[in-house]
Amino acid sequence: MAEVRLNNLTKSYGGVEVIPPLDLTIPDKSFSVLVGPSGCGKSTLLRMVAGLEEVTSGQITIGGEDVTDADPAKRGIAMVFQSYALYPHMSVADNIGFALKLAKTPKDEIRTRVKEAAAILQLEDYLDRKPKALSGGQRQRVAIGRAIVRQPKVFLFDEPLSNLDAALRAQMRVELAELHEKLGATMIYVTHDQVEAMTMADQIVVLKKGEVQQVGAPLDLYNTPENTFVAEFIGMPKMNLLNGATAARFGGDKVGVRPEHLEISSDNPIVSGEVVHAEYLGADTIAHVQSAEAGRVVVRLDGSHPLQRGSEITLSPRPGCLRIFDANGQSLGAA
């Protein structure tokens, strides 16, 4: 059991409160992603779980054990840093086995466990190399290997893929998800990239200014956002938020509709306007429509859809796909 619980946790720097009282449960063996814009407190939260940042008040439990004031090494966690944090003077094998060496593990066992971790991460051929002789992806694997070898209860990832190029990031996303399946450990992953969150998580925690906006499965957050912040943050392109007369028609202050939930149709129109830009992505066409009453609206159409810049189109939502929000941005349900 390695459920992580944060009870009434707060963090302040001087008089500035960056994490107001926060309660959160990370289920055992889950892959939970903390996501939010820069400065929302997600990394601070992760560092508090790691023990690298002091807790101002509240409690952290891992597997039912209170670790609020415990040393990082005694929490049963391992962390993968954004910068990889590999020791540049040590070989790959020494990097991976460093924690075991400190724990005075017998040399034979260190060798065996390092080899096992290297095999999982396909690093067997690089064990004698120094980190500077590795590519970005290989370095990231070494950092993960260093975490694996300690057999922790909880893995913590602090934006581990942000230094990689787009192709490698996509590959590593898959590898991390598979690793989670293989190890069956609890993983907490911090990112500002909602695509990473959507593709890897069992549970997404959306944060804004240190406050939890919504917790749930990726598709729950996507389909039923509890507020406009989550509605806009999750999904790419982001959800269209229409207000004024269009929203009033549905009894709300704002009405949200995802780009793929709009279609060119006059059956139940909510937006009419001029196509100002179209992005042809092959499978999809992303059209930007300028409407007098609703402003800029983005719509995702079939890739083969021909659209002329300057042409007038009318868009209707698919039934049941509109989200209604009140003046405070809270969800009032679907329409």
Binding site: G51, L52, P72, A73, I77, A85, Y87, A99, L102, R150
Partner: protein
């Protein structure tokens, strides 16, 4: 056939511009022509020519007045080789190097590890520890000669408090050189400390945090993570310490002036005392040549070994 093959080969001149053309087009040649001559001129005037002249004077018995006329060949070097005070000055220089490397640098490293983090109190301590380095060496020597004076200084107060005879450490053959070493360490450790502080501040915080998570205690973080990453700084620090030790002079004169009985001379203070003050410029030049060779040999060997790896 051979002609045809030759015709097929594109000469470097045809394929791409020559090195001279490239240097002209990217401005490198102009840069070299503008910046190199003044530097070469100054280096030649103030380093190369004096060195060659000194090498020439080393073969004369010459007081420094008039032209050197009395050619003695290698005689000055022979005297040097047999002079016990020179042997003592060589040994003393070695001891200064040893003290610098084994006392001063570890002390500087320890202090740097204690105060490298950016806090206001650490800034105050850095200033205090760096202050001796800012002091002029002659002033430092005078201050410490007063402190160790058996009539008025702290040494006098200590011997009075203990009820003993007045103690003059700087006039005592046993204590004079250890006192010099103490002052050398005190004066220069702040300089090395600053090198280490700069290097420590350059170590990414992630690395020490990763080590903490790996279970390393503060001492282990220092030993396994910080010290290996400080190797380049340590190499530079040792280089400066050794070169500085070989050039040590300004502290010696006000502290002991090489005494008692020439027991605290370094190579440079020996050169000054036996070469310049006794008007034996030829002999002094010979000492200078020996010192130059030792310094160059060390610099070349060290830069190609210890500093090459870093």
């Amino acid at each position: 056939m051979a002609v045809a093959e030759t015709n097929n080969i594109i000469s470097p001149a045809q394929g791409r511009p020559s090195a001279l053309k490239r240097a002209l087009s990217d401005g490198r040649l102009v840069t070299v022509l503008v910046f190199l001559p003044p530097a070469l001129l100054l280096f030649t005037l103030f380093v190369t020519l004096p060195l060659i002249e000194a090498a020439g004077y080393a073969g004369y018995k010459w007081s420094g007045y008039g032209d050197p006329t009395e050619w003695v060949g290698m005689r000055n070097f022979e005297i040097l080789q047999k002079h016990s005070a020179f042997h003592q000055s060589l040994m003393n220089t070695v001891w200064v190097i040893v003290a610098s490397c084994l006392l001063q640098i570890p002390l500087a490293m320890s202090m740097a590890l204690l105060i490298y983090r950016k806090t206001w109190s650490n800034t105050v301590f850095r200033l205090i520890f760096f202050a001796p380095y800012i002091l002029a060496e002659v002033a430092t020597g005078l201050i410490w000669s007063f402190i160790f004076d058996g009539d008025y200084g702290v040494a006098a107060m200590a011997s009075q408090a203990l009820g003993g005879e007045p103690f003059f450490p700087l006039s005592d053959r046993t204590w004079a050189f250890p006192v010099v070493l103490f002052v050398v360490v005190w004066k220069f450790f702040g300089f090395h400390m600053m090198i280490f502080i700069a290097a420590l501040q350059g170590i990414p915080e992630d690395l020490t945090e990763a080590a903490r998570i790996d279970g390393a205690k503060p001492g282990q973080i220092t030993w396994f993570v910080k010290l290996p990453l400080l190797k380049p700084a340590i190499a530079v620090s040792v280089f400066f310490a050794v070169i500085g030790s070989l050039q040590l002079f300004d502290l010696i004169v006000p502290l002991t002036n090489g005494g008692p009985s020439n027991s605290t001379h370094t190579i440079v203070s020996y050169l000054y005392t036996f070469g310049l003050t006794r008007l034996k410029v030829g002999f002094g030049s010979a000492v200078g040549i020996v010192l130059f060779l030792i310094t160059v040999a060390f610099a070349v060997v060290y830069r190609n070994t210890a500093m090459k790896e870093t």
